[in-house]
């Protein structure tokens, strides 16, 4: 894809693989005791075979279930893990060969782990980052002023990080990750545990930084609303392999073929049956009926319902990406 547009990819990953060796334990107390003396190891590939490339300025949703290999991939991109095999190149640098050099180009935000300094007030954490990244003072001042306004940091700028609420800390972390104008940011579950308002503020910030500064963003998340809101392209991985890489839209077209009728009954019926549809869920008066939009038109479905049952309300629900992804995982993807 990148070559077609004649641009140099900023991230290139090919045939990436990472195998972890861990101690195999027998269950129980005896097993734990035995492990003290003789150890058997088992090998597990967290990343089996991953290839993709990213152009500058892209926002990509890198998603997959727990243990799919998302974080392991990110760690190899940041240079803290050495791949077992395969190649990685980030802005022309092989991360694990020149970790510190690579670190100047990247910003990282982990939802579950702050990279700010626990004992220091937010402002001092930023000052420390300024000296770590050698950010020119005027640039630092401009960035700080801008982020402070966008993320509303003013109120807790002088509070030690350990006293901040999760939402405040995350906003601080985002500012901290962007102060040195990184070319690429890795966001690992950036909205986890946040309330709706805070989530939206963070999403707006990501979108704006991407738009105005051309920052490339890799977004690892469980919250598919993040992806829907931010990225056009998604890479789905499962069991260490890429199972889909492409526009979100195409995935929706191909796998979002199921629509759901939500019917509120006006009368009581012992059994609900509608031709061309499957009853997914029923609770007292509300029934959910799934149908395939390629085979049945919504109009025909609604007509059939109305012919047989007395209803007080009916709605058509389009599939959300979560359902699509779940289906993809269950049924597998055919290219």
């Amino acid at each position: 894809m990148p070559a077609e547009r004649g641009r140099m990819p900023i991230i290139e990953v090919a045939g990436l693989r990472k195998v972890f060796r861990s101690i195999k334990r027998e269950p129980g107390v005896l097993g734990a005791f035995a492990a003290l003396f003789s150890r058997t190891y088992e090998e597990k590939a967290a990343v089996e075979d991953v290839s993709f490339s990213l152009e500058p300025g892209e926002i990509v949703g890198y998603i997959g279930p727990n243990g799919a290999g998302k974080s392991t991939t990110i760690k190899m991109l940041t240079g803290i893990l050495v791949p077992t095999s395969g190649t990685v190149r980030v802005a022309g640098i092989v991360p694990y060969e020149a970790r510190e050099l690579n670190a100047e180009n990247i910003g990282v935000v982990f939802g579950q782990r702050s990279q700010l300094y626990w004992d220091l007030p937010l402002r001092e954490s930023f000052e420390l980052l300024r000296s770590i990244y050698d950010i020119p003072r005027d640039r630092y001042a401009t960035n700080l002023a801008e982020f402070s306004e966008l993320l509303d940091l003013g109120r807790f700028m002088d509070t030690p990080v350990r006293q901040l609420s999760l939402g405040e800390r995350m906003r601080g972390d985002f500012a901290g990750a962007m102060l040195h104008d990184p070319k690429i940011v890795y966001l690992d579950e950036p909205t986890i545990g946040l309330d709706v308002v805070a989530k939206e503020a963070i999403r707006e910030f990501i979108s704006r930084v991407n738009r105005e500064r051309g920052t490339t963003v890799i977004l690892t998340t469980h919250d598919l609303a993040d992806v829907e809101r931010l990225s056009k392209r998604i890479i789905l991985i499962d069991e260490g392999r890429v199972i889909y890489d492409g526009p979100l839209e195409r995935l929706r077209e191909k796998y979002g073929t199921h629509r759901t009728l939500v019917i509120t009954l006006a009368d009581t019926y012992p059994e609900i049956e509608i031709e061309g549809g499957v009853v997914e869920h029923r609770d007292s008066s509300v029934v959910r009926v799934r149908f395939d939009r390629r085979e049945q038109s919504a109009e025909a479905m609604i007509r059939r319902v109305m012919e047989r049952y007395a209803i007080s309300d009916i709605a058509i629900v389009e599939p959300d990406i979560e359902t699509i992804v779940r289906r993809l995982y269950l049924e597998g993807y055919e290219a």
């Binding site: 050099l101 782990r113 004992d119």
Partner: protein
């Protein structure tokens, strides 16, 4: 592809050290208890030595005033040497935040070194009030300038031995997530075999021979014996050479451990 090398900058490490000083200064209650505890221990040791010396005149060439000086200086040195300067490494390995350190353009071991240095500098400042407090209970001999200079140099070498020993212990967290037993054993060994509490010259000859060549003696005993004059100028080169040997050996072990450990930084929940 040309591999661009990063220019080394001291600034971030100075900042780390400054922030460590500021951090230590915020624990005011700790500072107060630490000072009080040193003063009380100096007083108690003086009492013990006075009682012990009542029936023994000058064992092993250490008169009462010298042993009291020895104990007081040893406890003051403890303000600096007893710090677990690189504890941050262990903690950050434990909670996994080491990963974020590796994602910054800094030398990670140097950042811990800088942090530890800041912490130690702050506690070194405490020596002054602790000394003032101690002088209320005990008399401390002050040797000649030459001896003081030799002591300072030997103390610095001893500090380096302690730092490396510490760093090695904290490095074990790369492989095991539980090293408190080892930490405890080493703390006991340092207390007992370092000569902080009881001068090693009081040990039976056979034992003293072994204990003298261990790194624990290089931390406390060597500079202290220089201070009280048991080790004379004629032996300075020999004893400090020995401290230096330990620095080289432990430095090599620490480097190897750090390299091997950094290679296998695997954050839990990857």
């Amino acid at each position: 592809m040309i591999v661009r090398r990063r220019r080394f900058r001291l600034e971030p490490y100075v900042e780390f050290a400054k922030r460590a000083i500021a951090r230590e200064a915020t624990y005011r209650f700790d500072v107060f208890t630490e000072l009080t505890s040193v003063a009380i221990r100096i007083y108690l040791l003086r009492t013990v030595w006075v009682a012990l010396y009542a029936h023994n005149a000058e064992p092993r060439g250490l008169p009462l005033h010298a042993i009291v000086t020895y104990s007081a200086v040893a406890l003051l040195m403890g303000l600096i040497l007893d710090r677990d300067q690189t504890r941050a490494l262990y903690d950050r390995l434990h909670d996994g935040s080491i990963a974020t350190d590796f994602m910054k353009p800094i030398s990670v071991p140097l950042s811990f070194f800088a942090d530890g240095t800041g912490e130690v500098l702050f506690h070194a400042l405490l020596v002054v009030p602790a000394l003032c407090l101690a002088l209320l209970f005990v008399h401390i001999d002050v040797p000649s300038l030459v001896v003081l200079a030799a002591f300072a140099l030997s103390f610095f070498l001893g500090y380096s031995v302690g730092f490396l020993l510490n760093f090695i212990l904290n490095c074990t967290a790369f492989w095991t997530f539980e090293n408190s037993a080892v930490q405890l054993i080493v703390t006991w060994l340092t207390d007992l075999l370092g000569g902080q509490l009881v001068p090693l010259v009081f040990f039976p000859a056979a034992l003293a021979g072994v204990v003298d060549v261990l790194p624990f003696a290089a931390m406390f005993s060597t500079p202290l014996l220089i201070y009280v004059g048991i080790i004379g100028p004629g032996r300075y080169l020999e004893v400090m050479g020995f401290q230096l040997v330990w620095i080289v050996v432990l430095g090599a072990i620490a480097t190897l451990m750090w390299r091997a450990g950094a290679k296998r930084v695997v954050v839990q929940g990857g």
